[in-house]
């Protein structure tokens, strides 16, 4: 069953350009993305900084304005719902942020941070009991409820953030780089916690990350973003073992290998240059300016996502394994 369905989503921000701010431009942070997440599924969204991963997550949560396209949650279009209905639907979506330091109000005890959604949305039962239950669910000692965030370690703070996200029994949690600010040893604890919670509470995750080893650990499916568009998506096993798009291939070859004897393998793809400006994206394929396989035709047509295998799609003219086939 599809829980979240995103169709051709665009998030554009108007900006002033030029020395005196006289010019007007548009940052195409998200430029035509279609994704879906099933119930109890983890979709990982990967890509380098500035490719629009977080903006996509914010658009789903209503924190960024949607320029075009639709977001359907549980079969209901968020754009057409009344404010009250949307508010009810948003209870089912929560977020875990990257930085657990700034994600908690430093002046409040962790119990009052966890209790806030319960108070705002009118929890029917006993709020202190629910806070205790949530703290135990995420592996925190209920004795710590009066502590301030600065008295906790980074991993404990992230557990508090997760407990707050779980307070209203959501169905989808958007994890925006939830472990990148943590120590490696703590990362695995938090990832295992997220996986255990998914199994216990039937959660779906939109897992935004740039760390592919983390993604491999947790994701069912992977979508690779580049400059506001999805260039490849598919089952995690297929994307990791058999990447089609040259950008995905470059990302995969950048994963550090623990085995030193395999480190100097010949298949490393080193990308040149930087991410082009989303103010003025290249014509045709957005990746062509850095692509080792770019051909003249890449500048003319923007490649669509085409099927490459079961559930596996990629947007590349050169590497397309099914040329001339129907678009996905």
């Amino acid at each position: 069953m599809t829980l979240l369905q995103i169709e051709d989503l665009k998030v554009h921000f108007p900006v002033r350009t030029g020395r005196f701010g006289g010019g007007k431009g548009t940052v195409r942070a998200v430029d035509g993305v279609s994704l879906s997440i099933d119930a109890r599924e983890t979709l990982a969204l990967v890509g380098e900084s500035g490719c629009g991963k977080s903006t996509l997550g914010n658009a789903v949560l209503g924190l960024a304005p949607v320029t075009a396209g639709t977001i359907q949650f549980d079969g209901q279009d968020l754009g057409t719902l009344s404010t009250a209905a949307r508010k009810r639907l948003w209870r089912d979506m929560q977020v875990v942020f990257q930085d657990p330091v700034s994600a908690l109000n430093p002046r409040r005890s962790i119990a009052s941070s966890i209790a806030e959604p319960l108070i705002i949305h009118g929890w029917s039962g006993s709020i202190p009991d629910r806070v205790t239950e949530l703290m135990e669910l995420v592996g925190l000692n209920a004795d710590q409820r009066t502590r301030r965030p600065q008295a906790l370690s980074g991993g404990q703070r992230q557990r508090v953030v997760i407990a707050r996200a779980l307070a209203l029994n959501p169905r989808l949690i958007i994890c925006d780089e939830p472990v990148s600010a943590l120590d490696v040893s703590i990362q695995s604890q938090i990832l295992n916690l997220l996986m255990r919670l998914q199994a216990e509470l039937d959660l779906s995750y939109l897992f935004i990350s740039h760390d592919l080893s983390v993604v491999r650990h947790i994701a069912d499916r992977v979508a690779v973003m580049y400059l506001g568009t999805v260039v490849e998506d598919g089952p995690a096993s297929a994307v990791f073992s058999d990447p089609v798009h040259p950008y995905t291939q470059a990302l995969m070859s950048a994963i550090p290998l623990p085995d030193p004897s395999r480190r100097d393998r010949g298949d490393r793809v080193l990308l040149q240059g930087d991410l082009p400006s989303p103010l003025d994206p290249p014509s045709g394929c957005p990746f062509r300016t850095r692509c080792p396989l770019a051909e003249p035709r890449c500048a003319e047509t923007r490649p669509a996502l085409t099927p490459q295998g079961p559930g596996h799609r990629a947007a590349c003219l050169v590497q397309d394994r099914n040329p001339g086939g129907p678009p996905a």
């Binding site: 949560l61 209503g62 924190l63 508010k87 948003w90 979506m93 929560q94 977020v95 942020f97 990257q98 930085d99 700034s102 994600a103 908690l104 109000n105 430093p106 002046r107 119990a111 941070s113 806030e116 959604p117 705002i120 949305h121 205790t132 209920a142 004795d143 409820r145 009066t146 953030v161 707050r164």
Partner: protein, 320 residues
Amino acid sequence: MEKTASMPTDTTLPPPRPSRLSRLRESDLWYSFRAHPSAIFAVALLALVAVTAFLAPLIAPQNPYDLAALVLWNSEIPPIWDAAGQWPFVLGTDTQGRDVLSAVLYGSRISLIIGFSSVMLALVVGLTLGLIAGYFGGWIDNVIMRIGDVLLSMPFILIAILITAIASASLPTGLKDVLAAPILIFAIAVPSWVQYARTVRASAMVEAKKEYVQAARLIRVKSWRIMLHHILPNCLTPIMVAATLNFGLAILSEATLSFLGVGMPPDQPSLGTLIRIGNQYLFSGLWWIVVFPSVQLCLIVLSVNMIGDWLRDALNPKLR
């Protein structure tokens, strides 16, 4: 916590929240306070001035507001340590026979009340407008901050004089004296809210970008509640310092206005009014009429500024 004693099985109960007093005594601020003799001195001095000022009706030898109590042949008596001094006029009397010590105590009370009230009024207005400007941004921010810029482009004292002058010209004489203190409070608060608004706006803009505010918005906490419960408590540190230092400034402004004759009337004198009256007799050798109110004003402003300086250092995370 007798409840826990009667229910020994209940082990999940959280430990009792420490009382406010014990939390204060364990705080960094208290530690810093005890380590700074100048802060202790300033707080003690201000406390002494405030207590004597507010207990003036009980301890002052004379009620300077009661014109019937003034006896003209007691006028121009020098302080008690002078050969011509007379009990109970410890600090002497003025040309009307008014006891200088009593006038200073009552005057300090008026000065402290006007200073404190104008800071509070400016704080309420400044915090509200600054939070709104910083949190919402956009045109609201522009309108509020441009109004503030206009106020800052004029000299502080000029705006205050303008307001008191307009008020005293438009009010009937009887009402004018009754409303003298509220008018002064308003006149001092109007130009000074801008500083709070700017400070809070800057902090609010930083805090509003932080993820805990985004998380609160996601829970659909209402905007006013986010501003009051989440952003404001995290913006208060610089405001505490500014408000303390401005308290001293407000007392000085009140004294300036009263000295210029647009403040408190002579029959309910503040320190500034006393200095203005005494100033006329300085060259007649009646130095005590002007010196004692001036010394009191200096002591108040000095102690307030010392507290403000200490707070600024104690609350500055870079100096800890």
